[in-house]
Symmetry: C2
Subunit: 344 residues, 2 copies
């Protein structure tokens, strides 16, 4: 492992994502990616008693499915890197506690999948772990209650607002395997704050973070956007995606729009699902990466993607106190297997 | 770096804690460790407008002082690992955002200092970082408002309750230097849950986690408690410390009481400061480690300590929903400089 440029960590041995899994709720299961997910839960409570327990259950289901596919047990897993949007990250703690895996809890808001995946890869490459799991989740009902209003209030949301995805994604990381997609570089973001205060427009708050992290990575590695099949952000939504392209053009003279896909834009159908600016929540990019994109990397349909998850790091308290929304984006470079093609 | 036993990561090159700093509030500054801290803020608001801003400021002050002592700038710092008790860890984000250091936010409740320190050491040893900062904080007034009741309610607390410390601690990690204390092993804990539901008795909830992590580490490394100058927990308080000794004796036949010190017990004077079962909050072990213990490791007065910070991972929501308090403990083995003695 070595650093390249100021912000990028090159993983010389390229740890592999040996398996991944994604589980989602009903609305997500009715969307364009319906066929991609491992499980779709029609019941918002996932058979539990509270929405918080439901979100924890989603995380457990994702972790368990990913470990099953990888053929590893919790006992054989050295570390779990997980986090979520709930206060004190309780979905991660309660969801995974029965697995009793040594646990580093991380908070990156909607950037958490990239944060936990990057860290699991650094640990695996370094020898600190043989096998690690990265996992995250979100749930529409827990997020609405905590960040906006209880569902019963029937609050209206503007077109710039995104809908928190009910879902979880997890993946298992081990030392490099030729037949699995691998992570060859990661880049941790720094906090950006362009003084956006509208909590119904997170895309605008997060766009500068995405631009900063992507452009720093491209500069560190002396590469161009066209060197990658896709730049996958999660989850700027429609408003944030446009802003990202504008900002990158204006500040760095780079066209990021040609091969840009946003997890928040593709998880729902904009017209028929009434989800305004798209999906959000850690579960959005986690579920889309660990289903749709990982399948296409495994099959070789995609060779090389930059996965850049973005997070808005405010709390309801800081927003009520008039603070702006600080944002962050973490980046993971994922490449297809060295040889052959392997379906998951 | 390599793993030893099931839970322990040995840091073969032993990254060094090149500098550390601790800042605290008024009550902490009047306690037995008064002389140890870098700064004591008499004003609960630390010159800011809200308690949340005050806690963020404490974290900034600690980070800045530690970097100053280490002779590094934010620009020369590769990574910041920070977290705190506030919802969405906003003290860490808002406190450090102006430094613009690539940032991995971690949540471990009161175990956060060990969690961020361990992770900063793994990153530094692996080559992912040259220089990293680990930092955490807590504030009595933000914690009371968020976890219990606003101060204005004048709530009474039972004798088993601990008082959240107003304070922050930070340290700077770099590659091994002979004249600085070094970290030679870390061990991440798994979640324990013995079904304690009393949020006024966190010590009881956290004691099993401390016992598990310490005993697993001793087993992995084939060592005895007496092989260490001190086993420093943070922060079980009076109630939790007694329980830890009992549990270790009962479950593992180990006497952990002989060289055990708890940060929550030594930061306040039990008799004169009316702090019930002692101090708590991430800022407690962070402030005590990064002042009192680091000074004694630097001077060679202490040779080898196990720093084991414990955290209770519930949220007010999970407690109101009747869930028990899951707990965790992370461990860091810190050793004195190889040669000579150096005052900080």
């Amino acid at each position: 492992m070595h650093r390249q440029g100021k912000y990028t960590i090159i993983l010389d041995t390229a740890p592999s994502i040996v398996a991944s899994a994604a589980v989602v709720g009903k609305l997500e299961g009715e969307g364009p990616l319906s066929e991609e997910f491992d499980s779709i839960f029609e019941d918002d409570l996932v058979g539990r008693e509270t929405f918080e327990q439901a979100e924890a259950q989603l995380q457990y289901e994702a972790t368990l499915r990913a470990m099953d596919k990888a053929g590893v047990t919790a006992k054989k897993t050295d570390m779990l890197f997980a986090g979520d949007l709930l206060n004190q990250c309780t979905a991660s703690t309660f969801g995974n506690k029965s697995l009793a895996i040594p646990y580093a809890c991380m908070f990156g808001a909607c950037s958490t999948m990239a944060l936990t995946l990057a860290t699991a890869c650094v640990f695996t490459e370094s020898g600190a772990c043989s096998t690690a799991v990265a996992c995250t989740s979100s749930h529409f009902c827990t997020a609405e209650r905590q960040f906006r209003q209880p569902l019963e209030y029937g609050g209206q949301r503007p077109q710039s607002a995104q809908r928190t995805v009910t879902g979880a994604g997890a993946c298992v990381i081990s030392a490099h395997r030729r037949e699995c997609p691998s992570v060859t570089a990661v880049s941790y973001g720094a906090v950006t704050d362009l003084n956006v205060t509208d909590t119904n427009n997170m895309g605008a708050a997060m766009a500068p973070a995405a631009v900063q992290t992507i452009c720093r990575f491209l500069s560190d590695t002396d590469t161009q956007p066209s060197d990658y099949d896709l730049i996958v952000t999660g989850d700027l939504g429609y408003v944030g995606s446009e802003l990202m392209a504008e900002l990158a053009e204006k500040e760095y003279g780079l066209d990021l729009s040609l091969n840009h896909v946003d997890c928040g834009k593709i998880i729902f159908d904009r017209e028929s699902q009434d989800t305004h600016s798209g999906g959000s929540g850690c579960g959005c990019s986690a579920a889309v990466l660990n289903s749709y994109f990982m399948k296409r990397l495994r099959s070789g349909e995609l060779s090389k993607i930059l996965f850049v998850a973005t997070g808005a790091l405010m709390s309801p308290t800081t927003s009520l106190q008039g603070e702006a929304i600080p944002s962050i984006a973490h980046l993971v470079l994922i490449e297809k297997p060295d040889v052959g093609q392997k379906a998951e």
